[in-house]
Amino acid sequence: MGRVVVEVMPKPEILDPQGKAVVGALPRLGFTQFTSVRQGKRFELEVDGDVTPEILAAAQEAATTLLSNPVIEDVVSVVDATEVPA
């Protein structure tokens, strides 16, 4: 079974209110070294069989049409993340 991982992040120029809340909470737990947090999304898309170039292209299209909104988000990666049996 193949797996494609898609990662989506808020655009750098868009304020990320969730990331801002997280960076505000970190010092309360003693994590004072982190100056900024941005929160994104990771999608795992599974397919029967291998991740072919066509599957990757379809995942790329899904990433830009449904999984992200280009007004506020960037698709930062679409990769074959199929686990190879040891």
Partner: protein
């Protein structure tokens, strides 16, 4: 109630929609027939205009409005809107309109991260759209606002374009309740038939059940003119 105008206005229900009944009631109080439409049905039943009501369609999963945008009814709405049919998106309906690219920009979480529910004053900036022609430009109106993801964002170029073309329809008056760029509460498309806003006109259509006004507590009916506006624009069309 017998419809006075003969106009038929559809109200679409998605899974997770909350305000469809109130929107239908507002349509009837304005004097039109409210037609219940279902998200999974591409047939708009020949309605003259469509309201996308508020709520949390698909639980706001992925992004608010992102999944509803691909509902069969929305494909029909996008086609009809491009042909000039009046479409009003309220709150979650506004989010759906931006996801469907009928309106520019997008909504992200409120800058203060809290759900906000209040009687919101705003200024009508464009009184020429299909949904605002019964207002006066510059008029202050008060209707309820209730949202979590209400911060309107767009790039500076888009914001300048919206301002330059008079497409900012409503601006928050006083406190900006969600951090929206340039205090924008609602916008329209180039043609003025598609309007989206975060506050809820359908909750301010009958004295006794609206926000406070000069006439007394719960007496506010500033939302009714949205629905009489569209009737007026349909008659004039």
């Amino acid at each position: 109630m017998t419809p006075l105008s003969g106009a038929r206005i559809g109200v679409i229900t998605f899974p997770g929609t909350l305000d469809d009944r109130d929107a239908a009631r507002a349509v009837r109080l304005a004097g039109a027939e409210a037609v219940a439409l279902w998200h999974a049905d591409a047939d708009l039943q020949g309605v003259d205009a469509v309201v996308l009501p508020g709520g949390f369609s698909y639980g706001d999963y992925l992004r608010a409005g992102a999944i509803s945008r691909f509902a069969p009814a929305m494909t029909a709405v996008v086609d009809a809107a491009r042909g000039g049919m009046p479409v009003l998106g309220i709150c979650n309906g506004f989010q759906i309109l931006t996801e469907a690219h009928l309106l520019p920009g997008s909504m992200i979480k409120n800058d203060h991260l809290h759900f906000v529910c209040r009687e919101q004053s705003m200024i009508v900036e464009n009184a020429k759209t299909a949904w605002t022609n019964q207002f006066q430009a510059g008029q202050r109106i008060t209707i309820p606002l209730k949202n979590q993801d209400g911060q309107f964002v767009a790039d500076e170029h888009t914001l300048d374009e919206l301002e330059g073309e008079g497409r900012v329809v409503f601006r928050y008056d006083g406190w900006n309740p969600n951090g929206s760029r340039r205090n924008i509460a609602g916008i329209t498309n180039e043609r003025g038939n598609v309007v989206g806003l975060m506050p809820h006109p359908e909750h301010a259509v009958e004295a006794g059940f609206g926000p406070a006004s000069a006439e007394g507590p719960r007496a506010g009916t500033d939302g009714l003119a949205f629905f009489t506006s569209v009737l007026s624009s349909l008659v004039g069309a």
